[in-house]
């Protein structure tokens, strides 16, 4: 079996025999599987030499056999998956040149039949799965085989003329994929892919081989160093960038880089531009080690040191520039922050002192830009860099301190501040081949093993000490079921007690319990709630987390939401007025918006069976509690009714007793009549700045949330009569801020527009909002193409799609009812 070529030969013969004679489906699949293993088997099964042998000598034979048996009976027996996995994959995983030749031969030789159809299917797969580029790449890769000229000519002519060949054969039955219109673009794409891979491979190979070699040689030999420097310095300007960036990426560490590059950065303008500008400020695709070796290279030599300062200033300028923070992608900002931190780590104290003023200036303005940004990651980045900068500027004195989570990104950033140890154990001393010898066992790992030995011995000891026979059993335990958690203060029973506890109690337990009970109390007795609703919502809005209550924000929010749902008019009136009034923190304003959005959601949901009595539903069987009956009669009346009902229920036989159909019964939306109360007051005062709150100015985070909330309200107002007016007002409002500089606001605007599209009935949209829609369409197209923020582009694209769809639909069936697309909130 192991004797290479012969074994393969036998195996293939056996496969072919089985396939041609056997009528047993399991034997057939097994044979196909065996053949497939030579193409895509795991590493050692079958051995690599056998696989090569198979691809060289037997693959074409096997393919020809398969093609000549396209009508074989067993092909009908395979399930679609087996067909794909076993049979088609035999064509898709092998050397593509052989496959293409065999398939085209088959097309030429077969008559029209279902077999030919199968062959064409495979050919189509072959094109779709990118096998053409594999073919091109394979011919780029290895040395040409012996019979190359003829084979290559044959391949080329077939590749070029594939549509003609097929059209000649198939006449008008040729498939779209084989028509020149589709085939040649495909071929061109595959060509470019193959070329790209070739270029990449060449570059990698070149530097991958050259650089370790050079860096090892230059380590001790000065002549080699000179040769290297001369080599780099005499690279023509046009290629300098390629050489430098290639070197920088492959070199391991700054010391090696400076041995290879010498002072080329001082002598060659182009190299200087690439190193100090292009690689740091313009491109941001490189990895952190590259940054470290590049900046380390600049710091290594006193001649290059001024360049480091220059780079630092440039980085600072970019980091602290507001427009860069606003408009450049977050990845680039991360890259620049990393470079800045590495620079800081490399600076000497004297240099820091010398440039202290400029750095301080940079820190101050940069901090402001970053903290103004509403994207959390930028925020975060600013805090980390600012903290490091201030620590470096005033090592002993006061420094900035922020609170932030220590995630992996932060840790990586902070670790950059300490420069990597310059002279680690240098791998360059070893010739490249001997690197693979196993590292000697480090003493630390041995120590760990030693440690692990100690606890292993411990349990045994514990057992021995425990083994004496104990006789606690003679003491019979008492009942301990009443030993429950100590529940602190008692929960209030009435909403007024709850209100009082929240306003005046100093007892943490009581406040916590009251807050937890608030939502239930509010829902339990709506009448009592209405009496105090505004007062309670005021208290909740101003409530502070004095006692670090668990789940404080959620409890408070749920209580406010249920208040809004219970007494909608009064509470929304209060909240929407307070949103624009003086002396609220941004957090409170954001809370108001969140509560309004959540309440709208609650109201718009169909009421479940047992909350909120609905007159249209048949009364539930066993609880005919009517509020009209006198309270004293209620008790007894309820009692006998229940007994009678139960009796009837037990005697009644039902056929097909299914689930009660309360879920599907229609109920009027509770949100529709009050949507205006939520919506219009929020639109009223946005352009009146106050001392503490300037919506169109610096408070763009709130503006973004406001627009988003309005979008949410709009979305829930679907099918409400007022939706059209709301949509019109909302579009008017967002129109003014659609080119806002903050991406969060723009995202809110896009969301609001898509909510309008979803909620306003189609026919009204085109009768009343046609102008706005036309403008919106042009604007959306603009945003989808040119917005710097990726999320904005995505949202705009979705809205555009939605708009087109609605347009198409309303043209197709102008009287279609309300739409019911789902919108992700």
């Amino acid at each position: 079996m192991d004797s290479g070529p012969l074994a393969v030969h036998l195996a293939v013969r056996q496969c072919i025999n089985t396939l041609s004679t056997s009528r047993d489906i399991t034997e057939v699949t097994e044979a196909l599987r065996t053949a497939g293993r030579y193409l895509s088997g795991t590493e050692d099964d079958p051995p690599a030499c056998q696989r090569e042998e198979f691809a060289r000598a037997h693959y074409t034979k096997l393919l020809q056999f398969l093609i000549s048996n396209l009508n074989a009976h067993w092909l009908e027996l395979l399930t679609p998956e087996q067909h794909m996995d076993l049979w088609v994959s035999l064509f898709l995983n092998g050397p593509p040149d052989q496959v293409l030749l065999v398939l085209l031969d088959c097309v030429n030789s077969c008559s029209m039949s279902s077999g030919l159809e199968r062959g064409l299917d495979v050919l189509e797969y072959f094109l779709q799965r990118g096998r053409l580029s594999a073919l091109l790449w394979a011919t780029c890769q290895g040395p040409p085989p012996a019979n190359s000229p003829q084979l290559r000519d044959a391949l080329l002519s077939r590749l070029v003329a594939l549509p003609d060949l097929l059209a000649n054969r198939l006449q008008e039955h040729t498939r779209p994929a084989f028509q020149p219109l589709h085939y040649y673009p495909l071929l061109a794409r595959e060509l470019s892919v193959a070329l790209e891979r070739t270029c990449q491979a060449l570059r990698e190979e070149m530097f991958g081989v050259l650089v370790p070699c050079l860096s090892a040689l230059t380590q001790s030999d000065f002549v080699w160093k000179r040769v290297c420097w001369q080599l780099v310095e005499s690279v023509p300007d046009r290629w300098m960038e390629g050489v430098v960036s290639g070197l920088v990426q492959t070199v391991d560490g700054s010391a090696a880089l400076s041995r290879l590059l010498g002072n080329v950065v001082l002598k060659n303008k182009k190299a200087q531009f690439v190193i100090t500008n292009k690689l740091l400020l313009l491109q941001y695709k490189y990895k952190t080690p590259m940054l470290q070796s590049l900046l380390g290279y600049l710091a290594e030599d006193s001649g290059r040191r001024p360049l480091l300062i220059q780079v630092l200033k440039a980085l600072c300028g970019t980091w602290s520039s507001c427009s860069a923070v606003k408009h450049s992608p977050i990845e680039q900002q991360l890259y620049i922050s990393k470079a800045l931190l590495i620079c800081l780590g490399l600076l000497r104290d004297s240099e820091v002192l010398e440039h202290r003023e400029e750095l301080l200036q940079c820190m101050l303005s940069g901090m402001q830009c970053h903290l103004d940004s509403s994207i959390p990651r930028v925020h975060h980045l600013g805090k980390v860099v600012g903290e490091s900068l201030s620590a470096r500027l005033d090592p002993g004195g006061t420094r900035l301190q922020f609170q932030y989570e220590l995630d992996t990104e932060t840790k990586e950033l902070l670790s950059l501040l300490s420069p990597p140890p310059a002279h680690q154990q240098p791998p360059e001393t070893l010739p490249p081949d001997s690197r693979t010898e196993p590292a000697p066992k480090s003493p630390s790992s041995e120590r760990e093993e030693g440690k692990a030995g100690v606890p292993a011995a411990r349990p045994i000891k514990q057992h021995s000490s425990d083994s004496e026979l104990d006789s606690d059993d003679e003491l019979t335990p008492y009942d301990m079921t009443r030993d429950g958690e100590l529940g602190g203060a008692l929960a209030p029973r009435y909403i007024r007690d709850c209100l009082e506890a929240l306003t005046s109690s100093e007892d943490p337990g009581k406040v916590e319990v009251s807050l937890g009970a608030a939502e239930g109390l509010i829902k339990k007795n709506p009448a009592a709630t209405r009496e105090v609703s505004v007062e309670l919502v005021k208290v909740l809005l101003h409530l502070e987390d004095r006692f670090n209550t668990q789940g404080f924000l959620r409890l408070r929010q749920r209580a406010m939401v249920s208040l809004t749902v219970t007494d909608t008019l009064a509470v929304t009136g209060y909240l929407t007025t307070e949103f624009y009034s003086l002396n609220y923190s941004l957090r409170q304003r954001l809370d108001i918006l969140e509560v309004l959005a959540l309440a709208a959601q609650d109201l718009s949901q169909p009421t479940s069976a047992n909350s909120a009595p609905s007159k249209h539903k048949p009364p539930p069987l066993i609880q005919p509690v009517s509020t009209e009956t006198a309270p004293d009669l209620q008790g007894t009346g309820q009692h006998w009714r229940r007994v009678v009902d139960q009796r009837i229920e037990s005697k009644t036989r039902r056929f097909g007793k299914g689930a009660p159909r309360t879920g599907s019964s229609a109920a009027p939306s509770r949100f529709a009549p009050v949507a205006g109360c939520f919506f219009f007051p929020l639109l009223r005062n946005y352009d009146r700045p106050q001392v503490t709150f300037d919506l169109l100015g610096s408070d763009h985070l709130v503006l973004g949330r406001l627009v988003h909330t309005l979008g949410v309200l709009m979305y829930f107002a679907v099918n409400a009569p007022v939706a059209t007016q709301m949509g019109k007002a909302l579009l008017d409002f967002v129109w003014a801020i659609r080119y806002h500089t903050d991406p969060v606001v723009r995202q809110g605007v896009l969301f609001a527009v898509s909510a309008v599209l979803l909620s306003v009935p189609n026919e009204r949209m085109f009768s009343e909002l046609s102008d706005e829609m036309l403008e919106a369409r042009a604007w959306l197209g603009d945003v989808a193409e040119a917005d710097p923020d990726a999320d904005c582009r995505g949202l705009a694209g979705q809205s555009l799609l939605l708009l087109e769809k609605i347009l198409k639909k309303s043209i197709g069936s102008p009287s279609r009812g309300p739409n019911d697309q789902a919108l992700q909130l």
């Binding site: 000490s465 606690d472 019979t476 335990p477 008492y478 009942d479 301990m480």
Partner: protein, 337 residues
């Protein structure tokens, strides 16, 4: 079906202030005249009259106290701990930074001597009877981390024990004289949650075990089994053993329902452990395996101390618990053998 937990045998209500500590004294008394000392702090009616009281309860027995109370010395201090001595002297530690010796013999109540502790912590002192009319008294020292040991009645300082590591204040102390006749040892629980064993004559730390994450509130030790137990403000009680090399090992841990142990005590017959909990409950555990036996619910506030009586007749032994709700409850548990 397990029996419902027992109710208290009787309750003393007269203290008028949270009960901080209890001490039985039943031996060496005339028949049926066992004593209970309770220490509490009277709520100040006005700042001047901050009266803190120790009381002696006479004649505690299974049928209830005969004579109610004998008003003991009035003094501006919180009484934390008593110990009865042969001459009817009791030792009272107060929050006024003093430990006073009172002569109670023949109905007297006079301060005979006092020691300035200079410590403002919560740590209770510990007294050890040595042969020949001498006692050792361990009190927290002026330095927050140190423990002073004095000889009584001469008041000569024996040693001052201060750990090298930062363990915080000592929270509870217990002196112990091993049977082997070597020098007395001191158990101390510290603020950082560790329990330490000190040798008094060598003034050295024999062993230390970090067994809690929170300050050790109370500890007790069983010299027979060389096994001790400690409680903290956590949700667990830990027991630990002392091996032949004088080193401490964590042995067992019992999870509680509610956090916080203010005091714990092993009964003299070493069968039962009682704990006073912040959750207003007294818990009883079997001492051998720390098997939970009962949860006694009566008090309406934090239970601050538990004590077992040392009555000669085992059947008459009671357990007392003092609570912040100003009551002392008496229980008869696991007395039938």
């Amino acid at each position: 079906m397990a029996l419902p937990p027992p109710d208290p045998q009787f309750v003393l209500r007269g203290t008028g202030a949270p009960v901080n500590t209890l001490h039985f004294c039943c031996r060496n008394q005339e028949q049926d005249k066992p004593l209970l000392f309770s220490g509490s702090c009277l709520e100040p009616e006005d700042e001047e009259d901050r009266e803190c009281v120790g009381r002696t309860w006479r004649g505690i027995s299974l049928v209830g106290p005969d004579s109610q109370q004998q008003r003991c010395p009035d003094q501006v201090s919180t009484v934390d701990y008593w110990h009865d001595q042969q001459g009817g002297t009791i030792v009272i530690q107060g929050r006024d930074l003093r430990v006073c010796m009172w002569d109670l013999a023949e109905g007297r109540s006079v301060v005979t001597d006092s020691i300035l502790t200079e410590s403002v912590g919560f740590c209770q002192c510990s007294l050890l009877d040595r042969e020949g009319g001498h006692w050792l008294l361990a009190v927290p020292g002026a330095d927050m981390a140190a423990v002073r040991v004095l000889d009584l009645p001469s008041k000569t300082p024996v040693c001052t024990l201060k750990p090298d590591a930062k363990l915080g204040m000592p929270m509870c102390l217990k002196l112990w004289q091993p049977d082997s006749g070597s020098s007395p040892l001191l158990w101390a629980g510290y603020e950082d949650g560790s329990v330490s064993l000190w040798n008094l004559s060598e003034r050295s730390l024999l062993s230390r075990l970090a067994c809690h994450a929170e300050p050790v509130m109370s500890l007790d030790f069983d010299p027979g089994k060389l096994r001790g137990v400690s409680g903290s403000s956590e949700k667990a009680i830990n027991s630990w053993t002392l091996d032949g090399q004088q080193s401490l090992k964590l042995q067992d841990s019992v999870e509680l329902v509610n956090p916080g142990i203010s005091h714990l005590c092993i009964r003299e017959d070493r069968r039962i452990l009682a704990t006073a909990g912040w959750d207003h409950r007294i818990r009883l555990l079997g001492w051998k395996k720390l098997k939970p036996l009962a949860v006694l619910q009566y008090h309406t506030d934090v239970v601050q101390c538990v004590a077992f009586s040392d009555h000669d007749v085992p059947n008459k032994r009671l357990m007392a618990a003092g609570s912040k709700d100003q009551r002392i409850s008496f229980w008869s548990v696991y007395n039938q053998i």
